[in-house]
Every structure is written in C-alpha cells, then in structure tokens.
C-alpha cells in the first residue's frame, strides 16, 4: 500500500486533514510517512469492504454452520442414505419415466385461472418412484411411492408437481424433518438407528403417532397403477376474479385397488412395480382422476402433517392419461427437477414451510446429480424435457 500513500494529493481539495503535496525529491522518507488523515481514510475503506464481504458471507450461510441450508439438508439425506448414489435423486431415487397427457374437463376453471384447467389436453412428462434414497432397494421394502408430473402448457408455461402415496407429511416443518433424519440415522458401529434417539424424538413430536396410526391402516397396493397419489402440501388456486382458494389435491387411480400380498413378496422381483407398469401399459393407457379439495375456514393450511376432514368439497378437474413408460436411465424425466414450486399463473404456493423447503432442497439435489451425470459423460436424455 506504500504506493497508495505516495500518491500526490489534489491541491484543489481543501480538507483540513490533508497537507499540500510534497514537492521535494530530496526527502522521500517524508513522502513515505502516511498522514493521520490518510490512515483514517484507509481504515475506513478497509472497514467498508470488510463489512460488505462479511454481510455476503453471512447471507450465504458461511458464518452460521448451525443454520439449516439446502446444502446441509441434502448432506443429511446423503448420510441417511448411507452414501451417495451418483446421478440419482437424493430421495425417491428409484423410478421410471412416463409420458402422457392431462385431459381437463373444464371444472377447475372455477378454482384457478391456470390454462391447464381450461377444457382440453396438456402433454405431461412424469415419473413413478419408490420412497427410498438407495436406488437398489427392492420395491417390496418401500411402503411409500410417488408420482411426479411436469405439465407442459401450450403457451410454454410449466406446472411441476410431486405427489406421495401417503396422505399427509410425517412431519410439519423442515427443521423437525431434519432432526427426524438425525434421529433415524444408522449408527455405523451397530448398523441400526439409536432407539433412545428415536424415542426422544417421538416423545417431542406427537404428529409422528398420527402418521404411524394412519399408515397402519393405509392400503399398500400391488401397482403404481392403482396407488393414490396425494399432493400433500396446500396450494393457492387463484381464479379469474383474483379470489384465492386453499386447495390440496389427489391423483385417484381408475384401476381397481388390489392390496399388495405381503406374504408373496419373496416371490416378486425387486423391480416388480416397473415390470407391472410396463405390462399394464402394453394393454393400454392408465388413468388417474385429479381431484381438488378446497379448505374450509380453520383447516390447517401451513401444516402438511395435519390432514383435512374427509367431508370437504372435492372437484374432479380432469384425468391424467399415462401412455408410455421409459426407463429412467435415459428417459425424459431423468433430468427434470420436479420442484413443486414451479407453477403456472393461477397456482401459487401456500405458507407451508415444508413446501418452501422442497423448492430449494430439490434444486440442490438436482444440481448435485446433474454434476455427477456430467462427470460420467451421460448424454442428454432421449426425448429431452421439452415435448
């Protein structure tokens, strides 16, 4: 910095702190000596820069290692998965792509101005998956299944949706979800979760009991085709008048429900769900009815671990037609982030904190697996994401 301090001063300025310029070349040591005003100015500059840099680091989360960020959330998922399965999603890793379309019957227009609800067809890219983070888990070992959709609207807008075969979330906040993951993590020495940690968590989170009780009676079916998929989170449908409707939705299968025969699991392939899907689609398309339920005043909007009463008004707004299955390895769903916050005009997120967290956590998972795909020189998926 000594060069800075040597710089001549502009005589046109009249600050009392600044001496006139040194003109005598015989006394360089005098020039090198910084003036008190310059030291103060330099300190001020340093302070301003440091304050801006520190604010940047704080906003990025670098100064607060305890803060739950998207990156730390995905790290936790990876730990619970027992490792990284490169190129796969960090949750619901094992899946199969499909293409089809959504046939809107026009009934949804009363609730939302989204063009997908006007009577007519919208092409869809989708994915069925099982709930495990390890993509090699046998299908029979995973009670939770999911359906993800990307509706490709005619004007170029996109609606993405990730739905679950469980009727509501196990936990209502991302922080509790994270702690739940920590409590369930396998101890490397025993290979099993710590029972004491699990009990402590259950004791402080009564919603866990509600979930396990519901799951005990929840039918696990023998096919993706006859599973019901729940939107779980609440969204706001905005109608043409600008009125907001708090809604949840389900995809209700038209295929008859047949319970999974748990005694027969040993005889089933580890991939029986995708094999069954392929066989069914050889016979013809599969249909699911999109049923939209509107909340009544007092229903929980921002807590997806609490179901709504069964008697809420429900509207059938259209039918999803699943036409063709494509293996995930090079299918059109592979490189899609089914972030449920990618919404068209007419649909908005609610204040549900789990829904908010899904947005950034899905994106972080997407970034990581596409980086892994790139490192492995995986070419673009066959059909791409755009129709």
């Amino acid at each position: 910095m000594s060069d800075h301090l040597n710089a001549p001063l502009d005589p046109s300025t009249h600050s009392p702190n600044v001496a006139p310029p040194q003109k005598d070349p015989q006394t360089p040591e005098r020039q090198n000596r910084p003036k008190p005003g310059q030291i103060a100015a330099l300190s001020l500059i340093g302070l301003i820069l440091a304050a801006i840099a520190a604010s940047f680091a704080y906003v990025a989360g670098w100064l607060t290692p305890q803060r739950l960020t998207a990156s730390r959330f995905v790290d936790a998922l990876q730990l619970n998965n027992g490792g990284i399965y490169e190129g796969y999603r960090r949750a619901h890793a094992k899946g199969v792509c499909f293409v089809g379309h959504f046939e809107s019957n026009g009934q949804g227009v009363a609730l939302s101005s989204a063009s997908v609800f006007a009577a007519g067809n919208t092409p869809v890219i989708g994915r069925f998956a099982t709930g495990a983070g390890n993509p090699h888990t046998p299908d029979g070992d995973v009670p939770v299944r999911s359906m993800a959709l990307s509706y490709q609207l005619a004007d170029g807008q996109v609606w993405r949706s990730g739905m679950n075969s469980v009727p509501f979330q196990i936990i209502g906040t991302p922080e509790a979800f994270y702690e739940f993951g920590v409590a369930n993590r396998r101890d490397p020495s025993t290979g099993k979760p710590d029972l004491a940690k699990q009990q402590t968590f259950a004791a402080t989170h009564p919603e866990l009991k509600r979930f396990s009780e519901a799951m005990a009676h929840w039918p696990i079916t023998n096919s993706f085709a006859n599973s019901t998929f729940n939107g779980v989170n609440t969204f706001r449908f905005i109608d043409a008048q600008g009125t907001s409707h708090n809604v949840r939705w389900i995809m209700k299968p038209q295929a008859p429900v047949v319970a999974l025969d748990k005694q027969a699991l040993d005889r089933l392939s580890a991939d029986f769900l995708s094999i069954d899907l392929h066989q069914r689609l050889q016979q013809g398309p599969l249909r699911f009815d999109l049923m939209v339920t509107e909340a009544q005043p007092g229903d929980p909007i921002n807590d997806s671990s609490r179901p709504w009463p069964d008697d809420r008004p429900t509207t059938h707004v259209g039918t999803l037609v699943v036409e063709r299955d494509i293996a995930q390895a090079d299918g059109p769903c592979r490189d899609i982030n089914f972030n449920p916050l990618i919404l068209p005009k007419g649909i908005e997120p609610s204040d549900d904190p789990i829904l908010a967290a899904r947005g950034s956590v899905y994106s972080e998972s997407f970034n990581r697996r596409l980086r892994e795909e790139a490192a492995a020189h995986i070419p673009p998926a066959a059909a791409g994401g755009r129709p």
């Binding site: 807008q157 899609i336 908010a356 596409l370 994401g385």
Partner: protein, 185 residues
C-alpha cells in the same frame, strides 16, 4: 491539476448507479436464495430472474453508451499499474455484467426449467437440454458470481481510494456533474 475535472454525463451516471444497486442486490439475492430453505427462497428466485434480464438489457444500453461516449481521462499523474488495474477491472465488470445473465438464462434452458419472468410471461430456451451443459453453466454461474463480487469490491476500493485519499476528482466525476463548488477552483 487545476483544470476542472471532466465528468461523466448524467445518463451514464444514472446507468452506473442504477446498475450498481441492481448488481449488488443480485449478488446478495443469489447467494442467499440458494442457501435458504424458507419461503424467502422462492421470493428471491422470482426476483432474481427478471432482475437478471433487466441487467442484461441495461448493460447492452450501457455498452452502446460507453462506445458512443469516451470516458473522462484518468489523472495524468496516476501510476501506470493503477491505470492498468482500473482498465482491467472495468473490462472484467462489463464482461461479467453481460455474461452472468446470459449464463443464467442458458443454464435454466439446459436444465429443462421454464424461464419465468412474471405471471405467465416467460422467455424461450436459448440452449439445448443437456446435463453436461447444465452442470457446467450452473457452476460457472456460482464461481463467476464470486469473481464479480471480488471485482466489485476492488472497484469500490479504487473509487474510495480516489475519493478519500487521492482526492483527484475521479470518484466525483461519477458521483455528480461538473459545476459543483469544489470543481470551480
């Protein structure tokens, strides 16, 4: 040194300070939104996209304006290395202002994302869907944002050095027009 310093035009100064605020906001929004798991994530990302496109449009106007109007010369007694630093950092700032929105736009295209501006208004894809391209652009967007932030800090340090220590009128030429009292001596 006693001649009144040449100042940037009012339009240039407006563009400069408007874009300074927008770019600094973008850097903080960007680094904050990717970390956040609250509803702030979605709000910030909804601002980040159209703000980035606005910066892209403004930088095109600004480049044309810069080519049409010569910048005021630096003080003749400024050491060569400082002169070079000033030039290099300005070239880098222009390059990054132009590159960052274009990388963001092509990155979303390569990642199969819709490029939503507001409501139903969105932009077309400008790159093919490709995991390799997405991964490269996504990382470039982050690392170049850090470079942009560093160059911004350097630029600010230079401006303050001129304004507080050298007091040579370089900062003043971007802060206000000619004709203020201190320039008339």
């Amino acid at each position: 040194m006693s001649a009144p310093a040449e100042h940037y035009t009012a339009f240039t100064r407006l563009l400069h300070w408007l874009m300074a605020a927008m770019i600094l906001a973008m850097l903080f929004i960007g680094v904050g939104m990717v970390a956040s798991i609250s509803s702030a994530h979605e709000v910030l990302i909804a601002v980040h996209r159209p703000l980035g496109i606005a910066i892209l449009l403004l930088v095109l106007i600004r480049l044309a304006n810069r080519l049409a109007h010569r910048a005021p010369p630096l003080p003749s007694d400024l050491p060569l290395w400082q002169r070079l630093m000033a030039k290099a950092s300005q070239v880098l700032l222009y390059a990054l202002m132009l590159a960052m929105p274009l990388i963001g736009w092509s990155m979303l295209s390569a990642g199969n994302y819709p490029i939503v501006m507001f409501g139903a208004v969105h932009l077309p894809a400008i790159a093919p869907a490709s995991p390799a391209l997405y991964a490269f652009l996504r990382q470039a967007h982050t690392y170049l944002a850090f470079v942009l932030f560093a160059v911004f800090l350097l630029h600010l340090a230079g401006a303050l050095f001129h304004g507080l220590i050298r007091r040579d009128g370089v900062l003043a030429s971007m802060v206000h027009g000619p004709g203020r009292k201190e320039d008339k001596h």
